[in-house]
């Protein structure tokens, strides 16, 4: 789960990472009130989960009340690369002397947390790597030993941080690592990490990604989830306990097992089609789960045809057939279905489908034939 800047900064504060004082606002009046409390100048920042807010006009400096109102009005409701701004973060303007970059990431390759530091703040990691690969200092931390003082010193010295900042920058890295571990984060990024004119270090932005699997340990963070910002099909699927990812094509896909569904998307694409979604009905799917999944798939108005690709293992093909028959009874889909059932109880499943004689349902016996057929039917 990706957090908004202000949510990330809440976690930072909790773990002692210095951040500028600020207030959350969802209306112009709230924003102005926040600005008045904080004292000018303030910065008014659009809260959307996307980079490039500044360039898009989503971050503005206000020197007085009038400017605060003007900017809050302009930013609230603004569209930033497809996302509408519903929330603001109003914070005390910082005195910027230098901008660094700091992060702790979950390094899957090394299977260890990796701490990163660069003096080239403001740019993203890939831009820094392109400009000067040596500018980003990285080191791995043994998760059982934890972040030691020497890790912070080494990053700071190797990144060429000024002598008076070695200690505070090292301390901030230690606090970021603490945030990373204590909050079950997959990513904690500060860009820019600010050095003020009075040589304080402050996290001016916060990008935090939390591990969904660990949210049960963090009930406060779980409430950060912004349901209204989610895609409607994805939200509907989540409520029904289905694993669904929205894509931009027109062929609805259902399969059992994440790998098989990904493979099905690929095979459909190879046949010239465009998948509308990823939907893993999971292992051991019962009829009602299948019915529920069909509703989610068809709630996407773009869908022109649907492919069921089932290789039964724990999932029984007869259960899948029953679910599909039930779905047709409830919904009467207006688009063609291609169904491939193989594996456990496949004969029984195919027999049930044949008997039901559903309108516009086509069975195929291989994955490739099924993909070709659905692409043809989607037109």
């Amino acid at each position: 789960m990706d957090l908004l800047e202000y949510q990330g900064k809440q976690l930072f504060s909790k773990h002692g990472v210095p951040v500028p004082d600020g207030r959350h606002a969802t209306s112009v009046d709230e924003a102005v009130e926040a600005a008045q409390e904080l004292g000018y100048p303030v910065v008014i920042k659009a809260q959307v989960q996307i980079g490039g807010r500044g360039k898009a006009g989503g971050i503005k400096l206000a020197k007085d009340k009038a400017e605060a109102r003007e900017h809050a009005e302009a930013i609230l409701g603004m569209d930033i690369r497809g996302l509408t701004v519903h929330e603001l973060w109003v914070e005390q303007a910082s005195d910027i002397a230098e901008e660094y970059y700091a992060a702790v990431v979950f390094d899957r390759g090394a299977k260890k947390p990796m701490a990163m530091l660069s003096r080239m703040g403001g740019m993203d990691v890939e831009a820094i790597a392109e400009e000067d690969p040596t500018a980003m200092v990285k080191l791995h931390v043994d998760p059982l030993l934890g972040f030691q003082d020497f890790h912070g010193r080494r990053l700071a010295f190797d990144a060429g941080i000024a002598p008076d900042l070695i200690r505070p920058v090292g301390a901030m890295l230690a606090r970021l690592y603490e945030t990373f571990v204590a909050e079950d984060a997959m990513l904690v990024e500060v860009n820019p990490l600010l050095v003020t004119g009075s040589r304080d270090v402050v996290a001016l932005d916060a990008k935090v990604t939390l591990d969904d699997n660990a949210l049960y340990r963090h009930p406060d963070s779980a409430e950060f989830r912004n349901v209204s910002a989610e895609n409607p099909q994805e939200r509907m699927a989540k409520e029904r306990g289905l694993t669904y990812v929205s894509l931009d094509g027109n062929i609805g896909i259902l399969g059992n097992g994440a790998g098989l569904v990904m493979s099905t998307l690929d095979v459909v694409a190879q046949a010239g089609g465009r998948p509308a979604n990823f939907l893993d009905a999971g292992g051991g799917s019962k009829a009602e789960a299948i019915t529920s999944a069909v509703e989610v798939i068809l709630s996407n108005p773009e869908v022109r045809a649907v492919l069921f690709n089932i290789f039964g293992g724990i999932t029984r093909c007869d259960e899948v057939a029953r679910g599909l028959i039930e779905a047709f009874a409830q919904i009467e889909p207006g688009v063609p279905f291609v169904v491939r059932l193989d594996g456990t109880n496949d004969v029984e499943g195919r027999r049930l489908l044949a008997e039901a004689n559903l309108p516009n349902v086509h069975t195929e016996s291989t994955m490739l034939d099924a993909a070709n057929r659905v692409v043809e039917l989607a037109g």
Partner: protein
């Protein structure tokens, strides 16, 4: 021969008294696996259709000589159960549980990495099947028979699909190893490929990968340097958009890292043939080993 599980496997199931735990334990026993015990704290002294249940792994190991553990407990208890199994001296831990927090996996991985006498397969994996010898996990055994193709895969159902294609072309399997779809798998492709390379029965290795991480790229380097047997690969997720988790916690393209394209190219650059779809994997197998039908 086979890898990891065979007739010497003595399995202890953590979470054996749960619905899924019971179902698959009995399923594994029916296949011929020696399921010697189970662990459920507070249910020590009971049994599951004759399989004795213990309160702790230590007791189960002492009393039943278990050498392999299967973890079937819910995600919030899974890391503790894996660590307990290791502490009790279990040599092979197969973790089926899906949804374990990534930081738990990190701690478990780095702790176990320091004990050379234990191996973890999974979590979030379907387990290991050595046809005709033992089945530890949830792989439906009926599609597979003994043979000379070793399969290692990050996914479950896709593996059955590939296995079925191979079976229809007449191939059987030495072992089928699901390493799981999580960000921190206990065993990597390389770990399992090393076992297949050393296994005299295995003549062809099939690697089934997917988006996310760089395990396939690392495997490609390893194969080029250390593997004499032919390897055929398949990668799922060419159409996956960046930043979206595709069902498996580990299946995510992050920025430009972890794409299927990059993985396929890395493998092909090292001389590994990559099938475009599961059917092609079987076709390449026929080319390499000759038709078996």
């Amino acid at each position: 021969m086979a890898v990891l599980v065979d007739r010497d496997t003595r399995l202890c199931v953590s979470g054996i008294t749960g619905r899924e735990g019971t179902f698959h334990s009995l399923n594994n026993r029916n296949y011929g696996t020696q399921v010697v015990s189970g662990v459920t704290p507070g249910k020590g002294g009971q049994d599951v259709e004759g399989i004795p249940v213990f309160d702790t792994f230590h007791r189960a190991v002492e009393e039943t000589g278990a050498n392999t553990a299967m973890i079937f407990v819910p995600p919030r208890f899974a890391a503790d159960s894996i660590l307990e199994a290791e502490d009790a001296g279990i040599e092979l831990i197969v973790a089926i549980t899906e949804g374990i927090p990534a930081h738990d996996e990190l701690r478990v991985y780095n702790h176990l990495a320091r004990n050379p006498s234990v191996r973890l397969v999974g979590p979030n994996c379907p387990g290991i099947l050595s046809p005709g010898k033992a089945n530890v996990g949830i792989i439906p055994a009926s599609f597979f028979k003994e043979g000379n193709v070793g399969v290692v895969s990050r996914s479950g159902t896709l593996t059955y699909q590939i296995g079925n294609e191979l079976a229809q072309s007449g191939f059987g399997n030495s072992s089928i190893v699901g390493i799981g779809g999580d960000p921190v798998p206990g065993s990597s492709f390389i770990d399992i490929i090393e076992l297949f390379e050393a296994d005299p029965e295995t003549e062809l290795i099939v690697l089934s990968g997917e988006i996310g991480g760089d395990a396939e790229e690392r495997a490609a380097d390893h194969i080029a340097e250390h593997v004499s047997k032919p390897v055929v690969a398949y990668i799922a997720g060419f159409t996956a958009p960046p930043g979206k988790t595709m069902g498996h916690a580990g299946a995510i393209v992050s920025g430009s890292a972890g794409t299927a394209q990059a993985k396929a190219e890395a493998l092909e650059a090292k001389g590994v043939r990559v099938g475009r779809n599961p059917t092609q994997v079987a076709e390449i197998a026929i080319e390499v080993l000759g038709a078996r039908v």
